[in-house]
């Protein structure tokens, strides 16, 4: 207990002595966390939107002949061989006609005299509604096109491709902002700790001479890094929450443009971001003291 009191006292003293660089580091960590968590929030919500849009997603494979049950089994087998799917439905010519008739409703009389087998038989493939399935849909479609007896494959190509491109872009941005987060937190914290180490070099040498343990010397610096990471992450997430509330308020109300359900992070995600930032800052701090104190 006394150890931690001493460590805390040393940490506070260190941070007060270098308060300017501490402030800069906190600002940088907060900003990095804000940028990263902003894009991550957009990404997570985009995934939810994708899942909802995926409810209507299906691939319609038009066939030149209505497949007999053994052939249906073969098709099913070949489709499942490529990818896992939610379900597969075989639509015969007559079933397709009935469905079309139902869609036409009151205007179904236009079909008078038209043979009931004029529509091609088809297979409706419902992919699993995950982002990975969405990203593979183009390849899935190309594969289905190669199956024997297939005339044409249709799916909501345009929006899926745009959506997928957006998700891909978000992934790249998250990777970049994540790298920014890692670099800034690690390097900035390491730099600040190095400044503190330089400022206290004489004292650290003396501490060794009077019998301080390695832990006694290094722990205040690790705690300093952890505090910078933790406080910085809390500030960054706090700023994001303010931004989120502001955006929600701006688009609230009956006259406003309806936004898809946009949710803030759950507590486990918040805890993970704070934990990650703290860990990175401790790593930065550790690298600085290891180099400087030769532990």
């Amino acid at each position: 207990m006394r150890f931690w009191i001493v460590v805390l006292r040393h940490t506070c003293r260190n941070m007060l002595h270098t308060w300017k660089s501490q402030g800069m580091t906190l600002f940088t960590v907060s900003l990095s966390v804000l940028i990263f968590s902003f894009f991550y929030l957009v990404y997570v919500n985009a995934l939810h939107v994708g899942e909802r849009l995926g409810d209507d997603l299906r691939l319609v494979v038009y066939l030149d002949e209505e497949p007999a049950p053994p052939l249906q089994e073969e098709y099913r087998h070949k489709i499942l061989k490529f990818d896992q799917v939610d379900r597969i439905e075989f639509i015969g010519r007559e079933q397709a006609y009935k469905r079309f008739e139902r869609i036409l409703g009151e205007n179904s009389d236009v079909l008078t005299g038209v043979p009931t087998d004029f529509l091609p038989a088809s297979i409706e493939v419902y992919p699993v509604r995950t982002l990975d399935s969405l990203s593979r849909i183009k390849r899935f479609s190309d594969y289905l096109q190669t199956l024997p007896g297939v005339l044409k494959v249709q799916y909501g190509k345009e929006w899926i491709e745009r959506f997928y491109a957006f998700i891909q872009l978000m992934r790249v941005i998250i990777l970049l902002s994540g790298s920014l987060l890692i670099m800034t937190t690690t390097f900035m914290v390491a730099h600040t700790i190095r400044l503190t180490l330089f400022a206290r070099q004489q004292e650290l040498e003396l501490l060794r001479l009077v019998g301080a343990t390695d832990n006694y010397i290094r722990m205040p610096f690790l705690l300093e890094g952890a505090l910078q990471g933790g406080i910085g992450a809390c500030c960054g997430l706090g700023a994001l929450l303010l931004l989120y509330n502001w955006i929600t308020l701006q688009f609230a109300g009956p006259a406003a443009i309806p936004l898809p359900a946009f949710a803030f992070f759950q507590w486990p995600v918040i805890a993970a971001i704070i934990g990650l930032a703290t860990l990175l800052c401790v790593a930065g701090s550790f690298s600085a003291i290891r180099r400087f104190l030769h532990f």
Partner: protein, 242 residues
Amino acid sequence: MIDLIKVSKAYPPDVQAIADVSLTVTRGEIVFLTGMSGAGKTTLLRLISRMEKPTKGMVDVAGMDVIKLPQSSIHLLRRKVGMAYQDFKLLPERTVADNIAIAMEVVYRPRSFIEKRTRELLELLDLTRKYNTRAGELSRGEQQRVSIARAVANGPEIVLADEPTGNLDAETTARVMALFEQLHRKGATLIIATHDRSLFEDTPHRVIELRFGRVLSRSEAGKDDGPAPFEAPPALFEETGA
């Protein structure tokens, strides 16, 4: 308590600071190390406190093989050895009290104990008024006394003092020596490196003279039953748990 066996220390390119020195200091003994500047007194003390490693030989302090002592265990040795440095090694921006307290903080002494002990030591060394003065503002003599106070603050088993009275007047020298005698009576082992002959002229303790890194002469320790040659003020060291 302290054993040096055929210890040599050379600095690059070819400075032989210590050459084949063998020395045994028993528990509770006071030994004066003397010799001219550059004789190897400071190097010997630095070897004992593991501030340096010898080029060859063996150094054993309080049952610890100092050479083989891993980095992570050096604190165990340093807690047994209090050293007053020739260059004082004070933190000039910190107060006198902080400079003394640092030695007690690392062994997790309670704040109340640290404050009491610091005041006690400052009173003994006639520095009471300097409690809150920054160490950088002190005279060299005062700095020397603060360095000594820090060395003895934890009541170490071994005290190494490197020219402890080099900047002091006769009266203050007597105070410092009285402090050392007090520690000696409490069972501490002291090695005092000095070229001030007045400190050991009539001493009953052992005097070892170094020259060019070698032991030149050894005077046998006299019988140490009588009163100490330096008069110690009363109640110098109360039982404070140090």
